[in-house]
Assembly symmetry: C2
Homo-oligomer: 450 residues x 2
Amino acid sequence: MSKVRPALLRGFDQEYLPREQLQFNALVDLIRRNFELFGFLPLETPSAEREEVLTSKSGIEKEIYAITRLAADPGEEVVTKGAMRFDLTVPLARYVAMRERELAFPFRRYQIQRVWRGETPQARKGRFREFYQCDIDIVGREKLSYLAEAEIPSVIYSIFREMRIGAFRIRINNRKVLRGLIARFGVAEEKAAAVLRTLDKIDKEEAARLLDDLAREGVGTATAKELYTLMSGKRSTDETLQLLAGLAPGNPVLAAGLEESRRIVGAIRDFGVPDSAFAMDLGIVRGLDYYTGTIYETTLVDYPDVGSICSGGRYDDLAGYFTDTKLPGVGISIGLTRLFAKLREAGLLQPPPRTPAEVLIVTMEGQEFRRYLEMARALRGAGVNTEIYLEPAKLKKQLEYAEKKGFRVALIAGEAEFAAGKVQLKNMATRTAADCAAGDLVEAVKRLLR
Amino acid sequence: MSKVRPALLRGFDQEYLPREQLQFNALVDLIRRNFELFGFLPLETPSAEREEVLTSKSGIEKEIYAITRLAADPGEEVVTKGAMRFDLTVPLARYVAMRERELAFPFRRYQIQRVWRGETPQARKGRFREFYQCDIDIVGREKLSYLAEAEIPSVIYSIFREMRIGAFRIRINNRKVLRGLIARFGVAEEKAAAVLRTLDKIDKEEAARLLDDLAREGVGTATAKELYTLMSGKRSTDETLQLLAGLAPGNPVLAAGLEESRRIVGAIRDFGVPDSAFAMDLGIVRGLDYYTGTIYETTLVDYPDVGSICSGGRYDDLAGYFTDTKLPGVGISIGLTRLFAKLREAGLLQPPPRTPAEVLIVTMEGQEFRRYLEMARALRGAGVNTEIYLEPAKLKKQLEYAEKKGFRVALIAGEAEFAAGKVQLKNMATRTAADCAAGDLVEAVKRLLR
């Protein structure tokens, strides 16, 4: 038979070996546990939505994947076209608008699912066409306290601290501050969005190129340089607030943004996030027009090239495309597939903390198989993940299997052991072995696994 | 602004309210824990695969969804077409063929992911276009012991016993027994596959209709009736084995199937599955030609209409389309989305055992917010899921929110409580309240949650 080459589709190629999958799952579990610790409820939405639901947010058609049956029935008509979600925010908006009367507000949900984007994949940058997003949002009805904006960094802090991936910094800024600033530098209201999109690249692009881009948008050279210096400067949070205080008089938008920022910075500190882990940073812009208050990006201090590992912001209206109810909210997203690829590259991944491969029961031909089953039942009953080697094979081969799969303990019992009422426990990490009485097996194994 | 109707795509409409999502997640967690207890390793594969990989298994083109960008760039050429996976077996085959040298065999993997099929959705039957499958497979290289076939029912037994969804029965049969039987009834070899596909409907279709179908396939009326009686009869496992022993002489295929079945039935009992939970049943057929040994279906004793909730079988060659390496294996699949819909309909779902909504800290205006934050930090530090009500609102409204979201405990502290160094703990289930000293808060809450 001619063979099909077993290969992956370009951009749909983040697939792990078992050990990596365990590491990935450990991150998912950690994120999920922290989201729940802060009272967020789980949500999953279907992978495909009605096309008109997804395209309600304009400008992303090129990135959306439509789905169609490979071979349709003759004459079949597709009533409603479907497409794959490209983020978790549009489905959230649709969900809240559909189920407004059944939900308790403020609605706090987390969602850890895959999304699909038809971008050019760049494995080196950790950019794929299919990837996991881990989102939380707090959605109010008609109103939402600034405290929600202040709470978000405490969730991020809790997650990345537990992840042990080195020093990180949650960088925040405020949309009103940004609007006030560029107004102060004479950028016209109608050019604000384009200028902000350019300034969003401040971390990624060379200064000269960025200044060129600003010039193309009609910002004078001197102004552009001033703006650049202001926004790229590294200051402490309090220095930034002081600097803004000097610029705010006579600029009501900036003044309002400064006032908001002061209040939120104070609350973030109250929420227990130390200044070593967060900072107000005027260079944080976030391209989307959608954000109206605090915006967030999170970077690894020692690995700036990784870019933002967790971003989001405050918005005034989640679901304006679907409902007249005003739904202000705040949310952040962790692009986990990219983060995982980058952590692996930087050697920052922890060994999997938990493995299904705890105990392998080695089996010997000629012994009553039932005895191995009894051991397995006792161990599983105590919550120990246990596999019995089911193939007839030499001891050496079974231990090689245990090694390769990453078992922590191998149990060895043959004629001599059964006759003496004993079992040999082999610690696969230290390559040492010791006997234990058959009756103490569960306790002895648990001791070894601890 | 004109609104888009917030609605779901037909067949892509299994989306839950938070409480249901918690129940669903509890089932996923239970299944995952049991899979790991038996030493299966996790695997996730990309949602989309190369079209040629998926269509290597023929006859399912109509059910496969292709993906294409909604708006392509002008002149853009799609180099490799992609499509959504319709099961977890083809991706497993592709995975094992790709990574043969890196995996430890027998390769035991579990996979809990969504699949997509362009079938006609029937919500009443729990049939959707997007649904979860929970699969395990044990894949050998060149060989696989019959013990793997015997172990599978012990995994299923462990899962459904823990799920507490009433009595269930794992029904097994053997492909060689089936082939031997229909040969004995004079069905020609080349008609065997079609006849077996018809007999696969024995649980679902009326006898008269089934007999008609068999007649159309050229099976004589008397033979068809005999076959029907034999296969639809309800017998104990030992009665079935006895019956086959009477039919086997002179029929080498049946004799081989009987021998295999005897061995496997004995081993299933050794693996600890009681006869009340499994039975050999000649009416189990499984349409796929792919299976070569034991086949499995699992049904709820008191809800036969639900149909099979867990099916699978032994196959001789997993990845023949991709590699020359012979990869015999055995696997089963739980169609979780359908099972969940059916359990909900039958009222068999347990309340969610675990909820992120454990403690709500009610907040009062005029109090120092930091005090609420301190309580939250202490509780979260002890692993208690805790939410602080962040909006300014009356006590009544906050308690209504606690009620609606399903919180188990509300903490109430205002001026009087803070002055006295106390906190009021409200048990939301019993609607009773008691004070505790601020210093004993964590312990008091944990007691309430137990």
